[in-house]
């Protein structure tokens, strides 16, 4: 049966290539969208995951960093320091703003760091300093290369000139990047407000961060304290919750396109072998045997389409990276399972029409020469 299915499918290689290409592209539609959002999730948490902190403290009711605002009095820093189990803390300021070079404006999350910050600074330095002093900024390497800036040049942040003292890596996404300045500069340009936006905490090695976060929340009362892992997962949830409807819709359309293409292929392949199926029926082959042959054909073509689609999406992700677009595409195991299940469903449903064709087939017609 499998041999017959393979033979039927591979008999016309051009038709097979076109149909596998169609299925692969339809599945890659689903793959790509899932990979893009998985990539966004990864990038959006890059700062949190690489901050070096065990716990993030924010204003009460604030559980996110991106597209969120948190503001706490500076006294929170001293209060947290006194809690047993806290090794050290780093207060940071944070606000989305622009890194401006001439007419080129780059959206950036500006982080204000205290001198020699142990946490929350740039985690990978390409060139120059890791700790911005007053009047200095550390910007992303990609932004610097794009705008022709190097160490010692000036950029405008918050409408003020800063000398580029360092270039960081892995701090840019498709839309924005991170830039680091000193907290004192941050306070000056933001109107001298004595507030901190987030407090990053390093727990003592023997301390359980989850337990410590709970202690901090209960002792301070008016803050939100989350372990870095929990904070990061809440950040990913923003992307997930925003994209669920879009992803579901695109998955449905991709599924329908894949279904139409596979159905068309299997239908035409069955149609062209109609007389052979008639002969088999005349020789005593049961309908169930012929049905299985058609379903196997459908499953083989979607299986090949699935593999080609996954490889195609992977290649696209490499090409996009090569083009320097800063768009990360992550093909996750979950997305492989999801698309694989959809492909299986496509294969089974697309065999319905050809099966109907075979069931209506009259063995006698081959003797009539039809």
């Amino acid at each position: 049966m499998i041999m017959l299915s393979v033979h039927n499918l591979f008999q016309n290689k051009i038709r097979l290539s076109i149909s596998i290409g169609g299925v692969a592209l339809a599945l890659s539609l689903i793959f790509s969208l899932n990979a893009i959002f998985a990539g966004v999730e990864e990038r959006i948490t890059a700062y949190i995951n690489n901050s070096g902190a065990d716990i993030f403290i924010a204003q009460s009711g604030v559980q996110n960093m991106h597209m969120a605002s948190s503001s706490m009095p500076e006294t929170v820093e001293d209060e947290v320091k006194t809690i047993p189990g806290v090794e050290f803390v780093t207060p940071i300021n944070y606000v989305p703003n622009m890194v401006v070079v001439g007419d080129e404006r780059n959206l950036a999350y500006i982080i204000g760091l205290p001198p020699d910050a142990k946490l929350g600074g740039p985690w990978k330095i390409f060139k120059g300093s890791r700790h911005p002093k007053s009047g200095e900024a550390i910007i992303d390497r990609f932004v610097a290369e794009k705008t022709g800036i190097s160490i010692g040049d000036e950029v405008e942040i918050f409408g003020r000139q800063f000398v580029v003292a360092g270039l960081s890596e892995e701090t840019a996404s498709l839309v924005n990047s991170f830039a680091f300045i000193s907290r004192s500069d941050f306070s000056t340009v933001r109107g001298g407000a004595n507030t901190i936006n987030f407090l990053l905490v390093k727990a003592r090695p023997e301390e359980n961060p989850e337990k410590l976060a709970k202690t901090i929340e209960s002792q301070l009362g008016n803050v939100t304290a989350r372990t870095t892992a929990a904070f990061s997962s809440l950040e990913q949830k923003v992307v997930k919750d925003m994209s669920t409807d879009v992803i579901n819709l695109m998955n449905l359309i991709g599924f329908l396109i894949g279904l139409a293409v596979t159905a068309l292929t299997i239908y035409t392949a069955t149609l062209s072998r109609r007389s052979e199926y008639g002969v088999m029926k005349a020789l005593g082959a049961r309908n169930s045997y012929l049905y299985s042959t058609v379903i196997t054909q459908a499953l083989i073509s979607v299986a090949i389409g699935f593999v080609v689609g996954a490889i195609f999406t992977w290649l696209v992700s490499i090409i996009i990276q090569g083009l320097g677009l800063n768009l990360t595409m992550n093909i996750t195991a979950l997305s492989l399972i999801k698309v694989g299940s959809l492909a299986l469903l496509i294969g089974c449903i697309s065999a319905v029409l050809p099966i109907r064709q075979i069931s209506k087939l009259d063995p006698a017609m081959i003797f009539r020469g039809r």
């Binding site: 076109i18 890659s28 597209m67 009095p73 622009m98 918050f158 407000a193 396109i257 139409a260 768009l327």
Partner: protein, 366 residues
């Protein structure tokens, strides 16, 4: 041409499946474009409906939704003193993440002074906030999460009573919600500050000259609302353009392959007949035209079906998920039809090669 039509319509099931395949691919292209157009309209809805023609922002900031602007103290008075300024409306705004029924929903919180303006432009229910513990919620967002006027809503540790539901302030990305300016000042711990000033010029004032005069104030820059809206659109386009182009390119390839598969199969099936036509003197040009015409018919029917599918599905999506706005422009529809024709021409290539290579003698040997 009749031959092309008969070849194609000989197997109606195959034609129907192929038309659906093409239609779905084109529908996807149309929907993606409509989705982006809708999103652009939604993200600029505040700027389109708020007072003034110019926006004063912190120096270096020329968009509303991308960067956080904080104006230096005293800018309101300084701006009012500028010749050509009739009124300034200060607002304090900030992105916030709302936790609604265990779902994270970004929203753009606008703090405004009800006496000056800059708040919701149309209320579906209730009234504007009169105290610092009152909030106006977006109507669609409220409906999705079963929120009504008089409900208590917690934001960044503070409790607010929903007193009104605003219309036209919804978006998949950023619904707008409104509180009094003094309320957001307390919430963000930045008293007596503003993010932006919406500037209403005197009648007949030249916007360019007025903008230049405002720019002279230290620490700020003035941008026309049109430019600011364009900058916001450009920011969101940057986010979506690469994934969108990728999806459109894949959809185009799928559509082309579907047309190609149908025409190729139809041509191979009729190979013998094409050979006979060649043997009785039909030129390659005539046979190419038959093949291409078949591809054009399939693509055109698929394109028309794709446009109809897109119109129907867009309406359905907006009913089920009112936070999405899908705007299908006539130009997008025209482009989709052109895309269908390009698909047909590309797809006709392989089958045309089959016909071209056909030796008339083969029909007599079989």
């Amino acid at each position: 041409m009749l031959l092309a039509y008969r070849n194609l319509s000989q197997d109606k099931t195959r034609l129907a499946i192929s038309v659906i395949g093409i239609a779905l691919a084109l529908m996807l292209i149309l929907l993606l474009n409509g989705f982006l157009t809708g999103l652009n309209r939604q993200v600029t809805s505040y700027l389109s409906n708020s007072p003034g023609s110019l926006v004063v922002a912190q120096k270096g900031i020329r968009n509303m939704l991308g960067a956080t602007s904080l104006l230096p103290q005293g800018v309101v008075a300084d701006s009012l003193a500028i010749e050509g300024v009739e009124k300034v409306v200060p607002i304090l705004s900030q992105f916030v993440i709302l936790d609604l029924h265990d779902k994270k929903q970004p929203a753009y919180l606008i703090g405004y002074d009800p006496d000056s303006g800059g708040g919701p432009w149309q209320l579906a229910a209730g009234r504007k906030p009169q105290t610092d513990s009152e909030i106006v919620f977006d109507e669609v967002l409220a409906k999705r999460h079963n929120l009504q006027t008089t409900d208590i809503f917690k934001l960044m540790g503070e409790s607010y009573t929903i007193v009104g539901l605003s219309k036209g302030t919804s978006s998949w990305m950023t619904s707008f919600i409104f509180v009094r300016k003094t309320a957001i000042e307390k919430l963000l711990r930045i008293p007596q500050t503003a993010s932006f000033l919406l500037v209403v010029p005197n009648n007949g004032a030249n916007l360019e000259e007025l903008s230049a005069r405002l720019d002279a104030i230290t620490g700020i820059n003035a941008v026309t609302k049109t430019e600011m809206a364009a900058n916001d659109i450009s920011l969101f386009s940057k986010v979506f353009s690469v994934p969108l182009r990728l999806m459109v390119a894949i959809s185009f390839l799928i559509g082309t392959m579907v047309v190609g598969l149908v025409i190729y199969t139809a041509t191979v099936e009729r190979q013998k007949e094409y050979g006979v036509l060649k043997a009785i003197g039909a030129s390659n040009g005539t046979l190419y035209r038959v093949v291409i015409f078949q591809a054009l018919i399939a693509a055109l029917v698929g394109s028309v079906a794709g446009v109809s599918f897109a119109l129907g599905l867009a309406k359905l999506i907006m009913v089920i998920r009112p936070q999405f706005l899908i705007v299908l422009n006539l130009s997008d529809v025209a482009w989709t039809l052109v895309t269908g024709i390009i698909m047909a021409l590309a797809a006709g290539f392989f089958p045309a090669r089959v016909v071209a290579r056909l030796a008339p003698a083969t029909v007599f040997r079989k």
